[in-house]
Every structure is written in structure tokens, then in C-alpha cells.
Symmetry: C2
Subunit: 372 residues, 2 copies
DNA sequence: ATTAGCACTCGAAGAAACAGAGTGCCAACA
DNA sequence: TGTTGGCACTCTGTTTCTTCGAGTGCTAAT
């Protein structure tokens, strides 16, 4: 059975007030907010109803009401008003995402922005699809050293300086380079067999094991490239939240977040839509440690068929509307920077966001850098 | 005036007990510890003396005693006994530092170990000296793209994929490569003037701005190379400490630590000795935020004339002896891995060709040496 | 259906009482 | 002179009790 319009208004009022104050809210406070013309007594009746339907609860008999996860869910799905960013916020985000930064730093920077703007810990994550090698280059330095340069299908470049305990001549390096370009490009990591390596070794007449070194680096690079990259920023912000004044509680959650790996549990896979926003409220989270926290995540296009997510974690008493708006805008900015793709309207958020999202100025030269 | 041996014993006992329990310690507790054969009354007299001399203080008239920074200083300098690591600890550290990891990951891993073993937040830092470029290579890919590969004086290799909005031919790339190798190698970042760049541009007959792109990357790389690299791990451990049960206090310190840049304030420059250990107690720290925390840092040889420090931050009530032993051992391990200059295998090679850093398994912990 | 009024509940905050750990000092003692 | 036992005193943390007030649910009137 649907809620009456007035009940919805009241529910929204309770939630917004609670988000603001972190205190149980009473009938009088709602009446005072004014927008609905009825007395506290009437509101009490409505509140009682909302409690019995599971949208609100009372910490104890004679206290005000507090939203339940179900209440928040209703709020997020139907009640919440879209919020616009202030011009300053828009400017700040655009400004801070506009520097000429390598992708991984851009990701962690975006996290930092999200965290600072929302006052919650933020996380960013990008899943890299398996890559292949597009091109090998071996740069001969001297008899005992050379550099391997790999160009990946993602256009990332990886390199490594190799020093040898034995001497090698330039023609050998040349030969190996040709060989690898012929046989080891365009294939995935698990397609590289030890048989192939041995064959190459014989073909190059390499009895020094150099072939193996190069192959090892290729395999390692490909393996690494699959890795998902994750950043967590601003954990300490949790301590600002009244619900985490208990250091143990704070510690538990912070440890969970910090311990690598967990971030990968986020439902990136399920999220297919561009700029999709997802809100996970309290018990909706699978992880036990998050059962009374909320997570808001937005997806972005990380370029090269990669998708990433950026999100924040906080208490269920979160300013969903504000956070959603900011995340959505930051994600749009990231997509622009990394993907260069077109931004799609984030579901449930108004178009102004998108229009503003286009403020991101394009860059002339697309570049990636890596270090060895 | 020197302290009598008995006073020293008592002071040490107070500090050790306080480190263990975090509670003010009374005369009876010390008497019960036994090693000195006198009654609580006697000890009380001594304690009163130690208070008036500034080594101890009383939170209030009828409470036990608590060490002052001066007391800790005395303890660290003269009283503290060297502590040996257990075999498990040695094994764990050796094991965890022995993986074939790239230097920066090794650093952050070492921090993680330090943090987990001491239960305090840990930081690692390595200062890179200014580098020069040893060699340029430009790899021509196609008319619109090429790769810049820089070999630095530190033997690090940096690269970047450049995409051009215009066409360029292979000979131009070739020419630029020769040019840069001739004029831009062996010099430091601030020796690269716009005059030089323009000269190179003219010499190469480059009217597409490619020279500028390459030069910009060179400058950027050199600038970056000077950067000190810093990692902070395990901030959340602070919340374990009773002195940080106040979330505000914890938050202040954590924010200070997390905010980049501050780590560089550590007195790395002053520390010249190998494996030098330094303890900064409470007000000895320059930063206001650290005035009632202690920092213990150990230096390590990061190879290539780089020096690094690894340390932990905690309340003044720290187990100095245990932490010092662990840090010292970890620092020694890092030196072994990273130091020995260029013989350290580059990332990811566990190959027979590369001489593995020999195990630092044998106990080679330096004595703790401290400074006032 | 809404509202005013009222008795009731329950937690937060404050006050008072208490227990106990620890001290300082004094007088006795080796 | 240095050490010790004894004792009165001080101070905090805890517990218990009281009070206060916000907020409720219910009922009767509109």
C-alpha cells in the first residue's frame, strides 16, 4: 500500500532533519519546519503509522524518530530532491581535475576531492581488462645492459632496465627484439608457454638466459595489467561523524576499508550503465563491517574499455542527495578526462549536472606514462 | 647531579610499568616488581625526589607517577635495555622483505610490516637526489605517435607515449633523438633553458612543437625525480592506543600525518650514520601536532646514494626498546635489499641472471644509538 | 479528520555518597 | 643517616539517586 503524500512529506522531513542534526527528531520539530499545515498531534499519528510500517523507529519509547534503512531507501528512491552544486563546487572540481596528470594519480586525486567535498572517506577503483603486448623494443646500452620497452594494447608503456652478469652484443639484442615482435605480440599472458620461450631461445641461439628474462618481464607486465587499481583516501574523516565517536567502531570500519582487497568487493561488475549511481544502505551491503554504514558509488568510463567506480563510505545518516550530486559530477569529470567518451545523464539527477559536466576542457595531446 | 643507581632502577621500573599498563604507577606496584629490596615507603621518598627533579610527574596529588618527556629521554639514553627480536619476528620480517618487489612497493611494504609489528602507524620515506638524463631514445610508432624513453643517472627508466595531432616522419624522430642525446644529457633540470629548447627546435627544423613536448617531459621527469617519496601506513593503529581514545585528538594527529608533505619535515637530512636510530620524544618534535607523541626513525641505505628513513609514530608512552629493535632490523633489511647500489634487481626479476640480495637473515641488528 | 490537553515514560545530566588507591609525613629503628 | 611501618589525608572513578524535560500515546472536543 502506497504512502499518502503527506506521509511522504513527513518522512522526508524526518530524514532531512535527522541527517542535519544526528538527533532523533520529534513531532514538534517537524511541525515547526512548517511546509505542511498541521499540528504536532496530527504528525504524531502519522509518525506512529510510519513506525509501524517500518520506515522509522524509536530508540526508546519517549524519544523522537530515527529513519530505518527502509526509510532511507524510500527516501533515496522517491523522496529525495535533486541538489545542485554551487558554482564554487563546480569550479573547484573542474579545476582540480584539469591538471595534466597520469591516470592513476588522477584517480587518487579524484578520491581526494570526493573525500574533502563530502567529508567522508572516498574510494576509487578501476578494473583493467587483460592486455596484450603491441610491440617490443630492446634498447641496447652496453655489453652488460639493455632496456626492455613494452607497448601494451592499452597504450600503456612499461619498461625495465636489465643488467647482465655476462656480455651480450648488439646483434643479439636486435635478433631478440625481432623475435619477440614476431611471436609474443597480440597474445595474452596465459598464451605464453614455456615451449614458446624455449623455441625462441633456440631460434636466437641464446644460451645466456636473456630470452627468459624478457619473457618473464612480459608475463609479469601482462599479469600486473589485469590488476584492479584501488585507492582509499580520507579514512580519518570518519572520526568527524558522531556515529563513529566510539573509537572501536571507527577502528573496525577503518581497518576493513584499509585492508586491501575489500574494495574489490564492490559491485563494479554489475554496474553497466554509464555514470550509473548506486546507493547501498546499511544492511544492503554484503560485508558485515558495512552493515550499518552506507556506500554511494558512481561509475565512470576509465578509457580503453575500462570502467571504474568512485564512491564514498559513511554512516547510514548520510546526506545522500548532496553526496550523489558531487560524486556524479566528479565521475563525469573523470570520464571526460580518462575516457574522453560522452557523458550520459546520471540517473535521477537533473540535467544541469550534465551540462556542467561538459565544462571539462579537452586536451590536445593524449598521453600515458609509466615508470620502470 | 647524577641519579643514584637505585633512582635509575626505580625510574626504569616506573616507565616500564607505565608503558605496559598506561596507568599511573604507585610505589607499591614497584616494590612488588621486586628487583630492588626495599619497602614502598622508601620508594615513595625516591619517587618524590624524581618528581622534583622533573623525571616524573603526578596527574594529581594522590595518584601514581607518570613519566615526563625528560624521564623518557633518560630512559632511552641510559636505562633502556636492548631487546632482541624473537625468532618468529626475525623470520617474518625477512620473509616479507624478501619478495621480488620494485623499490617503491618494498618501501610501502616495509612500512606495513613496521606498522603491524609495532601496532603504531608507520612511515617510510626516501629522498631522491636530483638526477640527470643519461640517454634519450625515441621509438617511432607511426605517423602520429612515438615513445620517449629516458634513462636517468640513477638508472631509473621513464617513458611516455606521445600522440600527435599532426604527422611526423621517422627521420625527424631520429634527428630529434640525436639532438637531445647531444645536448640534453648529463645536465640538471634547471640547466635546461628555453633558449636551448628553441635552439634545438631550429636545429631539427621542427615547426610542430615536438621538441617542446620532449623537453617538457624531460623537465618534468627530472623535477619528479627529485621528489621525496613517502608512504604512511596503518594510521588506524592509533585508535588502539588509550591515549587516543578521544576521537578529536586522534583525528588531529591522523590528519596531520595524512596530509602529505609533513613527512618530509622529518630530520632525514641531519641523519648521516648508517642504520642510525633516532627517537624524538614529545616536545622534542618540532611540529606542534606531535608535541605529545613520539617518533622513532631509523635510516636505511636506499641505493644510488639515496637515503631513506622508516619510522613509527605513537604516544610518548611507547615501548621504545621493542620498537627500536624492530625498526632497526627492518631498516637493515631494507638497506640490504635496496642498497648495494645498482646490483639490486630491477622490479620483478627473480632470475638466475640477477644476483639476489643475500639473506640478511643472520641477526645483524645494530645497537640502538640515540641522540639527545 | 484534526487538534488541544494531559498523564506517562525514559534517558541525560547533575548531586551526593562511597570505595580505594596512593600519597606525605612522622616516629621508630638498624 | 637511611629505611621502614603506620596513619591520616587527598583525590578520582563509580555508583546510586534525583531531577528535568523532551517527547510520546491516548482521549475527548472540535
Amino acid at each position: 500500500m502506497e504512502l499518502t503524500p503527506r506521509k511522504k512529506k513527513i518522512l522526508a522531513a524526518v530524514i532531512e532533519e535527522y541527517i542535519r542534526t544526528a538527533e532523533p527528531v520529534g513531532s514538534k520539530a517537524i511541525a515547526a519546519k512548517g511546509n505542511l499545515g498541521c499540528s504536532p498531534a496530527t504528525i504524531r499519528n502519522e509518525l506512529a503509522e510510519l513506525v509501524s510500517r517500518g520506515y522509522l523507529e524509536q530508540p526508546h519509547t519517549s524519544a523522537g524518530r530515527v529513519p530505518t534503512p527502509l526509510g532511507y531507501r524510500m527516501y533515496v528512491n522517491e523522496l529525495m530532491e535533486e541538489q545542485n552544486l554551487t558554482d564554487e563546487e563546480v569550479a573547484e572540481i573542474a579545476e582540480r581535475l584539469s591538471g595534466p596528470l597520469p591516470p592513476d594519480q588522477l584517480m587518487s586525486d579524484a578520491g581526494r576531492i570526493a573525500s574533502q567535498l563530502t567529508n567522508y572517506p572516498a574510494l576509487t577503483l578501476a578494473a583493467r581488462p587483460a592486455a596484450t603486448i603491441k610491440r617490443f623494443d630492446l634498447i641496447y646500452l652496453d655489453a652488460n645492459s639493455f632496456i626492455i620497452v613494452l607497448l601494451l594494447s592499452t597504450d600503456a608503456v612499461k619498461n625495465k632496465l636489465v643488467r647482465l652478469p655476462v656480455s651480450v652484443d648488439q646483434t643479439m639484442i636486435q635478433k631478440l627484439s625481432t623475435l619477440f615482435n614476431a611471436h609474443f605480440t597480440g597474445i595474452s599472458e596465459n598464451a605464453i608457454t614455456s615451449g614458446m620461450i624455449h623455441a625462441a631461445e633456440r631460434a636466437a641461439e641464446d644460451n645466456l638466459g636473456i630470452t627468459a628474462v624478457i619473457a618473464a618481464f612480459a608475463i609479469e607486465t601482462l599479469t600486473d595489467s589485469e590488476q584492479t587499481q584501488a585507492y582509499l583516501v580520507g579514512e580519518t574523516q570518519l572520526l568527524n561523524q558522531p556515529e563513529f565517536r566510539d573509537p572501536d567502531k571507527a577502528h573496525r570500519l577503518m581497518r576493513y576499508l584499509t585492508e586491501g582487497g575489500h574494495l574489490a568487493d564492490l559491485p563494479l561488475e554489475e554496474m553497466r550503465g554509464d555514470n550509473e549511481l548506486r546507493v547501498l544502505i546499511g544492511p544492503e551491503n554484503v560485508a558485515e563491517e558495512l552493515k550499518d554504514s552506507s556506500v554511494i558509488i558512481a561509475t565512470y568510463d576509465a578509457g580503453d574499455n575500462m570502467r571504474g567506480i568512485i564512491g564514498v563510505v559513511g554512516p547510514t545518516r548520510m546526506d545522500y542527495s548532496r553526496v550523489a550530486a558531487k560524486l556524479s559530477y566528479i565521475a563525469a569529470g573523470l570520464s571526460k578526462r580518462l575516457g574522453g567518451g560522452s557523458s550520459m545523464p546520471p540517473p535521477g539527477l537533473d540535467n544541469k549536472l550534465i551540462i556542467k559536466g561538459e565544462d571539462f576542457d579537452e586536451r590536445e595531446i593524449q598521453e600515458e606514462e609509466n615508470e620502470g
